[in-house]
Symmetry: C2
Subunit: 467 residues, 2 copies
C-alpha cells in the first residue's frame, strides 16, 4: 500500500467510525478476500469497502469522500458485464449490501418500496407472494440488486411488453456526490410537478449519484403463460412473425427471443444437457411468450396465432409448452449461454440496431471476422423485438490480443445504421473508448456538463462511461 493510501485510509476510518457501525468499513485482508466482481478471478483492489446500512450513512460516506476528493465506486451485486463497478487501488468501494429489508408492498397502489441492496429475485418473489408480477427479469437475478438494476437501466427478456427498468421506477431516492439526499419517492403513474429528477440516476451507472431506495410499479400477476419455440426459414420470416404475433396477441406478447442457428445447435448438442425440441438446421429459432388473464381462452388464442404463423409461412416448425416443466425447459435453452464458454472465453457484445438492418449487419460482421480470424466462432442471439442482439465471438487468439480488432468489426458498422454499442449492459470501462460511435460530440458534451455539475470533484465512479 502506498504511503498516501495509508494516510487516506486512516483518515477515512477515523471520519466514518462514528457514522458506520461495526462491520461498516472493511479494510486490509477483508477487502482482498473479495472478488473484484461476480465470477471474476481477480481480488478487490479497493482502498476499503464501506457498507452503509442507511441512506444517512451513504450520505455521510459521500460527504466525507467529496471533502477528501476520494473516488467512490458504487457496488450492487457485481453482476455487470462492462466493468462498471470495479474499484481501482486508492478508490473506495461503496457496497449497498446492507441497505436492504423486505420490500414494502402496497396492494392497492400496486407499488413496492424497496432498498437498493435487495436482490432482484427477492423483489420478484415478494411481488409473487403478494399476487403481483415485478416484470424485470434477467439471468443474474439471484445476485443483481435493485440499485444496480436502476443504475444500469437493466433490460432482459420482457422489455417488449413492460419496458426497461426505467419504465418500472415510479420514484427513487439518491445521494449526490456532496452527500445531499434527494428523495423523490413518488408512488403515482402520473406526476408532472417539475423536472423528473429520477431520470438522472437511472442508467447513469453511479456517476451522478448513488441510488438508495426506489418505488417500483407492480403488475397484476398473470393468470396464464404460453410459450412456443418455433423455427423460421429466413430473417424476413422472423420480422413478419414479430409483427403478426404482436398484433394477434394484442398486448399479451411478453417475449420474442431469437436464436441464430449456431446458438441453438451449441446449446442442444452434447455435452450441453438440453435435447433439441425442434430439429436442428433451421436458420432461426424463436421463443414466443404471452402472459394473459384467462388460462383456457389465452391458450386457444395462442394456438390460433401459431396456426396463422404457419399459414403465413413465417414459421416452419413449432413446439408449444404443455406443462410447467416443459415451459422451464424451453426457457432453459435460451438461457444456456454458459454452454458457449466451452470454446474458450469469448468477447461478449450487446448491441442494438434497427431490426431491418440486422440480417445484413450479422452477415457483414461474420464476413469481416472470417477474413481476419479464419475459423472464429460467432454466436448470435437476442431480444430482437427490442432491437437488441448479443454477439459472442471466440477466435484462436487470446481475447487480450483479438479484442481491439474484433471490437472494430462489431462496432464500426453500427454507425451507418445508427445502432448502439450498448443496448442494455451500459458503458462502464469496457466500452468508454467507443462511446463516440453511438453518441455525437454535442451529446457527450452535454453528458459531461451534467457530470461536472452534479459531481464537480469527480468522485463518483470516475473513469466509467467517459474515458
Amino acid at each position: 500500500m502506498a504511503a498516501t493510501d495509508g494516510r487516506r485510509l486512516n483518515e477515512l476510518a477515523a471520519r466514518l467510525a462514528d457514522h458506520l457501525g461495526p462491520g461498516g468499513l472493511l479494510t486490509g485482508a477483508e477487502v482482498g478476500a473479495r472478488a473484484e466482481a461476480w465470477g471474476s478471478t481477480g481480488s478487490c483492489q479497493a482502498l476499503a469497502i464501506a457498507r452503509p446500512a442507511t441512506t444517512a450513512e451513504v450520505a455521510a460516506v459521500l460527504s466525507h469522500c467529496n471533502d477528501a476528493g476520494l473516488a467512490v465506486v458504487p457496488y450492487g451485486g457485481g453482476t455487470g458485464l462492462v466493468q462498471g463497478a470495479i474499484a481501482s487501488a486508492g478508490e473506495l468501494l461503496l457496497s449497498l449490501e446492507r441497505l436492504r429489508g423486505p420490500p414494502d408492498i402496497d396492494p392497492l397502489g400496486r407499488t413496492a418500496v424497496v432498498h437498493a441492496g435487495v436482490a432482484l429475485q427477492e423483489m420478484q418473489q415478494a411481488a409473487d407472494e403478494a399476487e403481483f408480477l415485478f416484470p424485470l427479469d434477467l439471468g443474474a437475478r439471484g445476485s443483481a440488486t435493485i440499485g444496480g438494476n436502476i443504475s444500469t437501466n437493466a433490460g432482459g427478456n420482457r422489455v417488449i411488453r413492460f419496458g426497461m427498468m426505467r419504465e418500472m421506477v415510479l420514484g427513487l431516492e439518491a445521494v449526490l456526490a456532496d452527500g445531499t439526499v434527494v428523495t423523490s419517492m413518488n408512488r403515482m403513474l402520473k406526476n408532472n410537478a417539475g423536472y423528473d429528477l429520477k431520470q438522472l440516476f437511472i442508467g447513469s451507472e453511479g456517476t451522478l449519484g448513488v441510488v438508495t431506495r426506489a418505488v417500483l410499479r407492480l403488475r397484476e400477476k398473470p393468470l396464464s403463460q404460453n410459450l412456443a419455440l418455433v423455427a423460421a426459414p429466413s430473417f424476413a420470416a422472423v420480422m413478419r412473425m414479430l409483427k403478426l404475433a404482436d398484433r394477434a396477441l394484442g398486448g399479451q406478447l411478453s417475449a420474442f427471443e431469437v436464436m441464430w442457428r449456431e446458438f441453438y445447435e451449441i446449446v442442444t448438442t452434447p455435452p450441453a444437457r438440453n435435447k433439441p425440441p425442434l430439429a436442428q438446421g433451421s436458420p432461426y429459432y424463436v421463443l414466443i411468450e404471452s402472459l394473459g388473464g384467462n388460462e383456457a381462452a389465452d391458450r386457444h388464442h395462442f394456438e390460433e396465432m401459431l396456426g396463422s404463423l404457419f399459414d403465413e409461412r413465417a414459421i416452419s416448425d413449432a413446439v408449444i409448452a404443455d406443462s410447467r416443466a416443459h415451459y422451464e425447459s424451453l426457457w432453459t435453452i435460451r438461457d444456456s449461454v454458459e454452454e458457449l464458454l466451452r470454446f474458450g472465453p469469448p468477447l461478449m457484445f450487446d448491441v442494438s440496431l434497427p431490426i431491418a438492418a440486422m440480417e445484413e449487419y450479422v452477415r457483414g460482421v461474420r464476413e469481416q471476422l472470417e477474413r481476419q480470424f479464419p475459423g472464429n466462432r460467432c454466436v448470435v442471439w437476442g431480444h430482437v423485438g427490442d432491437s437488441n442482439l448479443h454477439v459472442w465471438i471466440s477466435t484462436a487468439l487470446p481475447v487480450t490480443e483479438s479484442r481491439a480488432a474484433v471490437e472494430h468489426v462489431v462496432y464500426s458498422p453500427l454507425r451507418a445504421v445508427e445502432g448502439s454499442i450498448s443496448a442494455e449492459h451500459g458503458i462502464g470501462v469496457e466500452k468508454r473508448s467507443h462511446l463516440g460511435l453511438s453518441r455525437s460530440g454535442a451529446e457527450i458534451g452535454l453528458m459531461r456538463e451534467l457530470k461536472s455539475r452534479l459531481d464537480p470533484r469527480g468522485i463518483l465512479n470516475p473513469g466509467k462511461i467517459f474515458a
Copy 2:
C-alpha cells in the same frame, strides 16, 4: 411599445432576417392579432413571433436571443392548461408551427420520425393509415402538437396501458439555450450508451431546451376494441374493479376512467345532449376499455370479465358498446367536460394521489369547500387507474377572488398523502407557487441547478415552473 422593446425588436429583425425567410418573424399587428393561448380572449403580448421552419433556424433564433439576453417562450399548439406557453411583453414567442411535414413511418422498426409542429391528431392518423397505433390521446388532439406533448409529458386516457408521452419517445432532437443542437434520434427500444439525455427535455416545459424532432414508438393497431360503462356502489368497489379488470384482461386494459356522480349527472342531463346510458344515482361510473388482437375472442372475454365484476359486487349495472357509434357515444360522455362550464368558469385542477387515499381526499375537499363556499359545485372525474383526478370547482365568487382559498383547499391535503399538484398538466405559471408542496427543497434545488447549467442566462421560458 417601450423604447427598449423597439430597439430590441429592430436588433432581432436585423439579426434574424438572414436566417428566417419571409413570414419567419411576425411583428406589430400580426402579433396582436393572435390569441395568447388556445381559447383565450387575451391577445398575444409578445415582442414578436419567430416562426422557424428548420432546426437550424431554431438554433439561430436561440443563439441570437441568448447573446442578447432576450427571453424566449416556446409555443406548440397553445392548448396547455397552466399558462406554460404565454409570453409577456418583451419576450419572444418561438412558435414551432412551421416545423412540420408528414411523419416518416418505418413499418419494420415500428417507429415514426416526426417534427415538433405536427399536430397530435395528424400523427395518430398517419399511424392509423400505416396500420399502427400511436397511443397518446387527449381532447386537444386537433391543435396540440407533438413538440408540446413532449415538452409537457402529456398523459391522457390510455396511460394505464401505454404510459405517458415519456414512454413513447425513443429519441429526440432539442436545441439548447445557446443554440447547440443535441440530436439523439435513437430508434431502438434499448440504448444504454451513456446518459439518456432526452429525459431532460421531456416534461420540462421548454425551460431546458426546445424540442424540434422526435422518434416515436408505434404499436400494432388493435384488432378489437371493447368498451363498457358500469356503475359502482362505492369507491371500495371501484378499487376492486380496477384490480379485477386489469388482472382478467391480462395486458389489454387500455382505459379505466372514473366519473363521480355529479359529473355523470351533469353530462347526461339536459341541456347536455347525452342521454344517460345507465340510470343516474350511483356514486361512481366507470368506463372500462380493452384493446386486443382477436375480435370474437376478446369480446367474449370482456363479457366474462364484466360478469365476474357483477359476481364480485364490484359493479351494480353495466352497458357494453355494441357498435362503433355506441362506442363513440359512451366515450363522448366522458369527454363532455364542456358541459361543466355552464355553471360559470370553474377553477380546474389536475392532481395525483394514491388511489387508496382518493375517497377520503375528495370527501375532505368537499367538506372544506362547503364550509368556505356554501353552494359551491365540485365536480370530480379522472384517470383513476393512473392515480389522477381532475377536480373542477365553481363558487359564487369570480375565480380571481376565490382562487387562493380554493387552491389551498385542493392542494394542502396532498402533502400528507404524498400526492402531486400536477398529474399531467405541468406547472407553468399557474402552479409554480405551489411547487414546494409536491417537491422538497433538495429536489427544487437540483432542478434549479439543472436549469442554471443548461440555460445560464435564463432565456428559456422564464417564470415557468419556478417562481
